[in-house]
């Protein structure tokens, strides 16, 4: 390889809306507000942004540029990896910046994760839809006719195998839900702030599918978030301490559009992506000061931890125990509360939190003196993405 993205680009602006059950604003309003706030946080104006990576659905680059006032967009692309999209988008942003195709790139996402299923009384459901393209054709022909149409059901096709193979108990997965809930108590924006959880509450929560209980599942949220990247060189002249993109990658299971015929059922996209990202960054998983892991479901987090290589296959159940993933432990995880207890913004909220941690602006959840952290994304039928981020020295 003749080029390496390590340290070429940096996150310079972040923002998020509140995490809401029933927003009084439309999806485009939420996305535009988060985007404008992230651009201001970067010390820039919309006219400085010439690259845009919108979510797969809900809004277009053209609408974002026209509403915020971006006179010359030079680069636009959309990543179709479900919840892995925002973190995978950083790879495209860093490529565009390092090659000079774009100077400053906005990555944004917002949606009606709560209101899509539960519209406010008297309010018509939004016509702004998620684009399910990559997973639609196989699932609608071969899963949906059997009542298998939710993420919890899809992923249970391998999570059940995972728990059987490694004898993973509910009390193991509970530790992830409990740690997230504990961290959410420190976060003003967390949907579950003020609602601490005990183990018995977790164990008593109703079954959903396969090994999943209700409290293994992430929240439903109306929200938006945004991050702005530019070159590391330019970042050093902007208001905040730059957060360097040291390495990153995306990965897809084989095949990505169908679960049951995979030769290796437990090999996720992140298993392919993680070694590439750490090699690019020149660091090891065990060098990380914190972990922001895409937590749509607790058991998926366990598989991701193993995919990262931070523990052995089957080792996640021991890794998460003894306070290891709680603030004060060796690997504080999802210090904002995650999708399980802060809110569901497709992991863009994980990138926002990682940036705040590395700026040393994470408030009560600050991991003291942190220098390196990792963010993962996970989506569709097991696609994965990863970003290794570091504080500028």
């Amino acid at each position: 390889m003749t080029t390496n993205l390590r340290g070429e680009a940096a996150i310079v602006g972040v923002a998020e809306t509140d995490y809401m059950r029933g927003a009084d604003r439309t999806i485009p309003e939420l996305i535009l507000q988060a985007s404008m706030a992230a651009i201001r946080d970067a010390g820039l104006t919309p006219a400085d942004i010439d690259g845009v990576i919108p979510p797969p659905g809900f809004i277009s680059t053209e609408e974002i540029a026209a509403n915020l006032g971006m006179p010359e967009v030079r680069y636009s692309i959309t990543v179709h990896m479900g919840g892995a999209s925002p973190t995978a988008a950083l790879q495209s942003a860093a490529m565009a910046i390092s090659t000079g195709i774009a100077n400053a790139v906005l990555v944004t996402l917002g949606w009606n994760g709560y209101s899509a299923m539960r519209p406010r009384p008297g309010v018509a459901p939004s016509r702004r839809k998620l684009d399910l393209g990559p997973v639609l054709e196989v699932s609608r022909n071969f899963y949906t006719p059997y009542g298998v149409r939710s993420a919890a059901q899809w992923y249970s096709l391998y999570l059940q195998r995972y728990v059987d193979l490694y004898d993973v108990q509910p009390t193991d997965a509970a530790e992830i839900a409990l740690a997230s809930r504990e961290h959410a108590q420190l976060n003003d924006k967390a949907q579950m702030r003020g609602r601490p959880m005990r183990l018995q509450e977790y164990l008593d929560s109703p079954p959903i599918a396969g090994p999943l209980r209700k409290l293994d599942c992430c929240l439903e949220t109306d929200c938006a978030a945004a991050v702005v990247l530019t070159s590391a060189e330019r970042a050093r002249d902007l208001p905040h301490s730059p957060v360097l993109y040291l390495g990153g990658a995306e990965g897809h299971p084989d095949p990505a559009d169908e679960i049951t015929n995979r030769p290796e059922l437990l090999r996720l996209g992140l298993h392919y992506a993680a070694p590439r990202a750490f090699a690019m960054a020149g660091v090891k998983p065990t060098d990380m000061d914190f972990l922001q892991i895409y937590d749509c479901f607790t058991y998926v987090v366990m598989m991701e931890l193993e995919a990262l290589g931070i523990c052995e296959p089957g080792g996640a159940k021991d890794f998460v125990k003894g306070g290891n993933i709680r603030l004060g432990g060796r690997y504080p995880m999802n210090t904002h509360g995650g999708l399980l207890s802060q809110g569901h913004c497709w992991g863009l909220n994980h990138l926002v939190e990682a940036t705040r941690q590395l700026r040393h602006e994470a408030g009560a959840a600050q991991v003291a003196g942190c220098e390196l952290g990792v963010v993962t994304g996970y989506g569709d039928l097991g696609d994965g993405s990863i970003a290794v981020l570091g504080r500028d020295r």
Binding site: F142, P145, L157, Q160, P206, G210, E258, T260, N261, L265
Partner: protein
């Protein structure tokens, strides 16, 4: 039983079970199963079976295939029991179990459990996939125990 979804009625809002509007290679698969006999896509070059239908063989990259009849016999490879569903067509059947069958030819397909319960399932259990044509371009599959009783 499964009712045919009207094309003017969005699947998510239908109180009945979803029946897809099929097209392309998937439609060809279902049309070949419409007699009630499962047919699998079979590579003319390297003689491997594959599912779901693909335009090129993943092993030899050939674009030549035929549809070969299958006995539907295989073993249980996995299953998922659903206790919650957003699907109004299935809500009355909760909890329900969906079984992944590994056919003797190799490919795996999903089907709905019939003539047995989740307690009868174990990995490797001999089962049979039985097609129930719902339309000339869609077949619903049941998974039954190979041995009666």
């Amino acid at each position: 039983m499964t009712a045919q979804a009207s094309s003017t009625n969005p699947p998510a809002a239908s109180p009945r079970k979803y029946v897809p509007e099929t097209e392309g290679l998937n439609r060809e698969f279902f049309e070949n199963c419409a007699s009630g006999t499962l047919h699998l896509q079979h590579c003319d070059e390297c003689a491997t079976y594959r599912h779901p239908p693909r335009y090129y063989c993943q092993h030899c990259f050939s674009d030549r295939w035929s549809w070969e009849p299958s006995s539907g016999q295989g073993t249980v490879a996995s299953w998922v029991t659903s206790h919650f569903t957003v699907d109004r067509g299935w809500v009355d059947e909760l909890p329900y179990t969906t079984v992944v069958v590994e056919l003797d030819e190799g490919p795996r397909l999903l089907g709905a459990i019939r003539n047995m319960t989740v307690d009868d399932l174990h990995l490797g259990k001999p089962v049979r996939l039985v097609g129930e044509p719902k339309r000339d371009d869609f077949v619903f599959f049941w998974v039954e125990p190979l041995e009666a009783g």
